[in-house]
Symmetry: none
Subunit: 406 residues, 2 copies
Amino acid sequence: MKILLIVCDGMGDRPCEELAGKTPLEAAYTPNLDLLASEGMCGLMDTIGVGVRPGSDTSHLSLFGYDPKEYYTGRGPFEAAGAEMQLQEGDLAFRANFGTVDENLVVTDRRAGRIDDVTGLCEAVDGLEADGVKFIIKAGTGHRAGLIMRGEGLSHCISDNDSHEEGAKILEVKPLDGTPEAKKTADALNTWVMKAHEILRDHPVNKKRIEDGKPPGNMILERGPGMLGKVPSMQERYGLKAACVAGAGLYKGVAKVVGMDLYTPEGATGKKNTDVKAKVNKAVELLNGEYDYVFIHIKATDNFSHDGDPKGKRDFIEKIDNAVAPLLELKDTVVAVTADHSTPCSIKNHSGDPVPLLIWGPDMRTDDVGEFGERPCGKGILHRIRGLDLMNELLNQTARSRIYGA
Amino acid sequence: MKILLIVCDGMGDRPCEELAGKTPLEAAYTPNLDLLASEGMCGLMDTIGVGVRPGSDTSHLSLFGYDPKEYYTGRGPFEAAGAEMQLQEGDLAFRANFGTVDENLVVTDRRAGRIDDVTGLCEAVDGLEADGVKFIIKAGTGHRAGLIMRGEGLSHCISDNDSHEEGAKILEVKPLDGTPEAKKTADALNTWVMKAHEILRDHPVNKKRIEDGKPPGNMILERGPGMLGKVPSMQERYGLKAACVAGAGLYKGVAKVVGMDLYTPEGATGKKNTDVKAKVNKAVELLNGEYDYVFIHIKATDNFSHDGDPKGKRDFIEKIDNAVAPLLELKDTVVAVTADHSTPCSIKNHSGDPVPLLIWGPDMRTDDVGEFGERPCGKGILHRIRGLDLMNELLNQTARSRIYGA
């Protein structure tokens, strides 16, 4: 049997006054998801732990069965992998932004006027060395980039150079522990930041932007340093040939790190305008083909929450419901629908509230839950499980688990 | 948002025949607690782990988010802190009792006739040294005292001198492992016990007691040795300015060790006659002031259980319910009401049954539970969590959690 996991980012929510005391998921008209819920098993899930506010990176690792305590040191490697950079063991990776600084290195725009393509700027500094460390950079979407430091003896225990506020000078990167590795890493990064700044300052792209009255992308801001150790693939770990259908970089990155093949169908933008049907159709195609496990990531639910827009979130969930209709025809497949974390519209940010979970398939116990929603799922037969339990449960339901003991 | 935690000691119970098959909490008329439950979230909580019988010290550490596996070696330091003794890192602390021994060191009364004040006796031996170790002792309530050994290289791995039975000789303290620290500690304690006995034997207070036909407090019985390592305060750990409103020493001690300020309003006796309203009012005053987190401890529920008195326990719970009415007016505060452990009246001692838990606040999912009780809470949306989860959940509900990951 095969596995399809659909993660609707930040879908879990709290009761909203605008929705007559329902959550967006509870308020949405979702006949297809309700049918999956009523034929399957429901529950609540703490993707990290009870009350713990998950990041998107750590929660996805957990959903794939990889304990973040073991595999996570920072977001950088997942962003870099999502930008299709090739990571090697011992690489230190960052999330990077092109921003604008003045002659005193004061940040005047953290996103360089939301510059829409930094490919040329990245090419100008890619491969630069500083203090014997090689710096590899690749353009991401908009002002974003992936950055990798490659060299002997690096450490992720360093601070950011990004002050996270405009009007302040960029920060000197500092070692966060007393190891020579952290000191070496901080020193090399500080050297490189200024080397890169000197190249970018005079780059034709930036000269043109200044002429056009736009802020130049003359400073690279780094954060989220992380180092990847050896990560066994889902094939090695579970015997699953796995694929990811996603539009947004981070989720592709986590999927790639655990060995999934990446697919981004046309129209899958990772934004509110994304084509959910195209994603579901691509997933069905992959499941009908050679893949054992397909992960679909849908980002926009979280975007509506960050905007504090419960009605928009409700409507988008109805769009998801409409798109998942073909799943009801799936044979020999266990489908799980859930979220990576809750993002209540009331607080516009991730919370530690558990997420709703439904698991549907041909041969399982059922419960009385007939509606997919946070509070209905709270009455389901799965009770309250952890994110790290999900992969075990999916392997169990597809008769793919190894026995523990004999 | 602020946090109020109310712990009704030993409140969890089992169905009682005297209460027509209800538990004391279920049988009590509790309109205020029921309203909090119906507007909030309910569940069951294993303060330590499923089926584990918690001590009052370990369970409170857990409720405050401090893993007792990491922070607990014995009860002594918490009793000493509760008696307002100043502990230093490396101190070894004990619970101590004044008892009576005859000329053969046979214990004839473990509580020295429930002597009601041992201040003078403590002063006579306070600061005494033995084998290079300093012994600091301070009177507690009744026959009780806090005892601290201060010196280099002490160990908590030693046995008690308290035989826990009358008619038996006091015990020689023995090292419980093969370390030189344990041997040194046991030797010094044995030396001090006899030195103190010689001073107490001839003390005017005891001479007077013998004249009056009362058993003298001529022997100090020690148990619960424990050593505190470095314990980060709730301010350091969670950014919470925290206060404790309690009458009984141990709970004040645990609260003090984790950095809470202590308040004992007039009438808060830690006994059945305690003024619960005074405690709740003090807590509301502190929450309206500078405190982010207030912990109220109510002891008497447990006392009724130890006496096997379910009706008394029921009535006392009604007194608590009456006292908590002002909480319904609180704004921007999350309130949790629970117990540190169950103490079934049928067994008159702590049990490993989970405790009922309600969490109430302005912005949270709700459930169908409309009555605060063990079995109603068993149907709540919190399901079954652990004591160590509670602080995370309260931080989550007050939007005070840090994100794990990014």
